[in-house]
């Protein structure tokens, strides 16, 4: 990598028009080793031009009103100690193909053999430039997802991603893929970018656990052909004071199904963006998250920003976001459903809810609907509440301790989000793990 890496300043192309003052962006790019050449070269150049044009976000940007972009804008991440031991992996014992990333770079020795019937797996860093099907996709969905909302860190990712997976599913594989993220350096600025294409009628389950880097920036581009199915279950349990931003861009063809669930625990400054383009008729997109935020040891700020575009008929979208916040934690939800002209019979649903376990925590929500078709069913709701005293008393009156009763009520609150995990076995594992975490961190 080192011999092909060139500092960004030397590469900055001239852009017509009036570029914004780019001092901060230049410094940001200069701190990264930017990969050169290969099949992604054109896409990276294009992304750099777009990034130069839009610049880094500031607090006045509409989509950055609730989340301070400074820790993402900083040229280098704050140091973050590497934990002594990884936690027991959530999906241990499940039959799966494991792919290990260390600080955002694929670790071949630690991973399973990439051969799996029905699936072609390559890595971004080693892909054959000429033959890669991914050349048509890398950065394309990200670029399309920049309208109407700018997502500079996704463009930055396309420019700077060092590694990632290129996964093409031609027939449903016998087992899920499991991406395990590990950390080795206390200062790594991990940038990785996966490209996934599920061909007609095929199905893929992608599991993700762990964290890469002292700071992370991830992009997943998912292209679903007609009738394809994609299940994504991610568990992001950070260590404090982790900083990270992730984007998932999906393009969904007719009758295809996209389902993504993320569990987020801890993290000083975390943002997940999902940009879903429902492009074919009768398609389905579900996106859900369960968030546990505790500001006791370090500040906690977690932001889910979602944009679902309905561009076809008879499609269904569901957004289910649940955040449990305590000790001054902040949760953010910005969710939008855009129904384009002609996207008739759309069924769009969005719910975002926070359970505040004390008066110092806060939930900031901005639900939006924008509808240009006249025969649609769309609804959204957002609530912020505390533990239900009546339910707490009911449980305690049966002999359940206050601490245990609160764990029950937190699990109860999260249930709708967890229900979005389709596989019973996987959902049960998440439940069990949540139960353990909640019990260990019981509210007194």
């Amino acid at each position: 990598m080192a011999d092909t890496a060139v500092k960004a300043k030397d590469q900055t192309p001239t852009i017509d028009g009036a570029p914004k003052p780019a001092g901060a962006l230049d410094a940001r790019l200069a701190a990264l080793s930017l990969p050169q050449g290969g099949f992604t070269a054109a896409a990276r150049r294009d992304a750099l031009a777009r990034l130069q044009d839009m610049g880094l976000p500031g607090p006045r940007d509409e989509y950055w009103r609730y989340t301070d972009p400074r820790s993402f804008n900083a040229p280098v991440p704050a140091a973050l100690a590497v934990p002594d031991a990884d936690e027991t992996p959530l999906f241990d014992g499940l039959d799966k193909l494991t792919l290990v990333f260390v600080d955002g770079v694929f670790d071949e020795a630690a991973s399973d053999d990439l051969a799996l019937e029905g699936v072609e797996i390559a890595t971004l860093a080693q892909a054959d430039a000429a033959g890669s099907w991914a050349a048509d996709l890398y950065g394309k969905l990200e670029a399309a997802g920049q309208k109407p909302v700018k997502r500079p860190f996704a463009a930055l990712n396309t420019v700077a991603a060092r590694d990632g997976l290129l996964i093409r599913v031609t027939a449903t594989p016998a087992k899920p893929l499991h991406v395990v993220h590990r950390r080795a350096s206390d200062s790594a600025d991990a940038v990785w970018h996966h490209v996934i294409r599920v061909e007609e009628g095929a199905e893929l389950t992608l599991l993700e656990t762990g964290m890469s880097g002292a700071r992370s920036n991830s992009v997943i581009e998912v292209d679903l052909a007609e009738g394809a199915k994609f299940h994504h279950v991610a568990s992001k349990r950070a260590v404090d004071p982790k900083v990270g931003i992730g984007h998932i861009f999906a393009r969904i063809a007719a009758r295809a199904q996209f389902k993504s669930f993320t569990l987020s625990v801890k993290g000083t400054m975390m943002r997940n963006e999902a940009v879903i383009d429902i492009a074919g008729d009768d398609a389905v997109a579900h996106i859900a998250a369960a968030v546990l935020g505790d500001g006791a040891q370090a500040p906690f700020h977690q932001d889910d920003t979602v944009f679902v575009t309905h561009g076809a008929e008879r499609c269904e979208s569901r957004q289910v976001f649940k955040k449990v916040l305590k000790n001054g934690a902040t949760g953010v939800f910005q969710g939008k459903i855009l129904v384009k002209p002609g996207a008739q019979k759309t069924d769009g649903y969005q719910i975002s809810q926070a359970l505040l376990l004390d008066e110092r925590s806060q939930f900031l929500a901005k639900p939006e609907l924008e509808i240009y078709a006249d025969d649609v069913k769309c609804s959204h709701g957002s609530t912020t509440g505390a533990i239900d005293e009546e339910a707490l008393f009911y449980l305690r009156s049966r002999g359940v301790s206050r601490e245990r009763a609160i764990v029950f009520l937190v699990l109860s609150f999260l249930a709708d989000a967890l229900a979005e995990v389709e596989d019973d076995g996987i959902r049960d594992r998440i439940y069990e793990r949540l139960d353990v975490w909640l019990t260990l961190n019981a509210v007194q």
């Binding site: 009911y394 305690r396 359940v400």
Partner: protein, 251 residues
């Protein structure tokens, strides 16, 4: 078993006195009923005894076998053998009825220094008790009280009572919202639990329930106190004449 002496209770938020010197004793093995007009403080009594927040005891005492209830947390009262069957059982989505019940049973056993029930023994026990109350295996699997009819919720309360085997059971208007068949089912469940070591305090508006669950003593409550006590005939008198004459009689 349960001894309440001169109990004075006010609402914490409103500074409103609800119980004004209530005294009552339920000996072991007996069933006592409390009847009284709306607003007499019946539900408050059940909540104060089981430890719900929002009430302040300003005077008096309540003991279970000589142990003061009022200083205990709700879960400690439960472990000591007190059980409240709720007038409106609470729905808890996402928490399985079985999981909840097993946690409760084992929490109480643990608090009493007893060994926890194994999952096998628990399952056997809960299936037997559920069948007696005509609670289907499906209801056991569902989240606590979610999607249950009024009758099913009350039967679920009795199932909890049967599983937890408390010494002192308080039933807060368990008959409300029950049809005739459900009332019989619930009453049969309660009667099956009657024993020389277990006592019941049955709060109700109507004499009807007392045809099924025969009380040893009936208390009439008004304005935060017990104003009259007697045998089962007292309930019949209320049913026939209403509270008016009775209350006028006791001043």
């Amino acid at each position: 078993m349960l001894k309440i002496e001169n109990l004075h209770v006010k609402l914490e938020e409103e500074d409103k006195q609800i119980l004004k010197g209530l005294s009552l004793e339920v000996p072991a093995g007996q069933v006592h009923a409390i009847m009284g007009p709306n607003g007499s403080g019946k539900s408050t009594l059940s909540y104060v005894l089981s430890g719900r927040d929002g009430y302040e005891v300003t005077e008096g005492s309540a003991t279970l076998d000589g142990e003061s209830l009022l200083d205990m947390e709700p879960e400690e009262r439960a472990a000591a053998g007190l059980f409240l069957a709720f007038q409106y059982p609470v729905e808890i989505p996402g928490v399985g009825n079985m999981t909840f019940l097993r946690t409760a049973v084992n929490a109480q056993r643990k608090a009493r220094g007893e060994e926890e029930l194994s999952s096998g023994d628990f399952l056997k026990l809960v299936r037997t008790k559920a069948a007696e109350l005509q609670i289907s295996p499906d209801m056991l699997k569902r989240p606590v009280n979610v999607g249950f009819s009024g009758g099913e919720k009350k039967r679920n309360e009795i199932l909890q009572m049967a599983m937890l085997a408390p010494r002192m059971c308080i039933m807060d208007e368990t008959d409300s919202g029950l049809d005739v068949d459900a009332m019989r089912l619930v009453s049969d469940g309660v009667n099956a639990l009657r024993s020389p070591e277990r006592s019941f305090l049955v709060i109700t508006h109507y004499q009807r329930l007392l045809n099924h669950i025969q009380p040893d003593v009936v208390h009439i409550m008004a304005n935060g106190r017990i104003v009259k006590s007697g045998g089962p005939e007292l309930a019949l008198q209320v049913e026939q004449q209403g509270y008016g004459d009775l209350l006028a009689e006791v001043g």
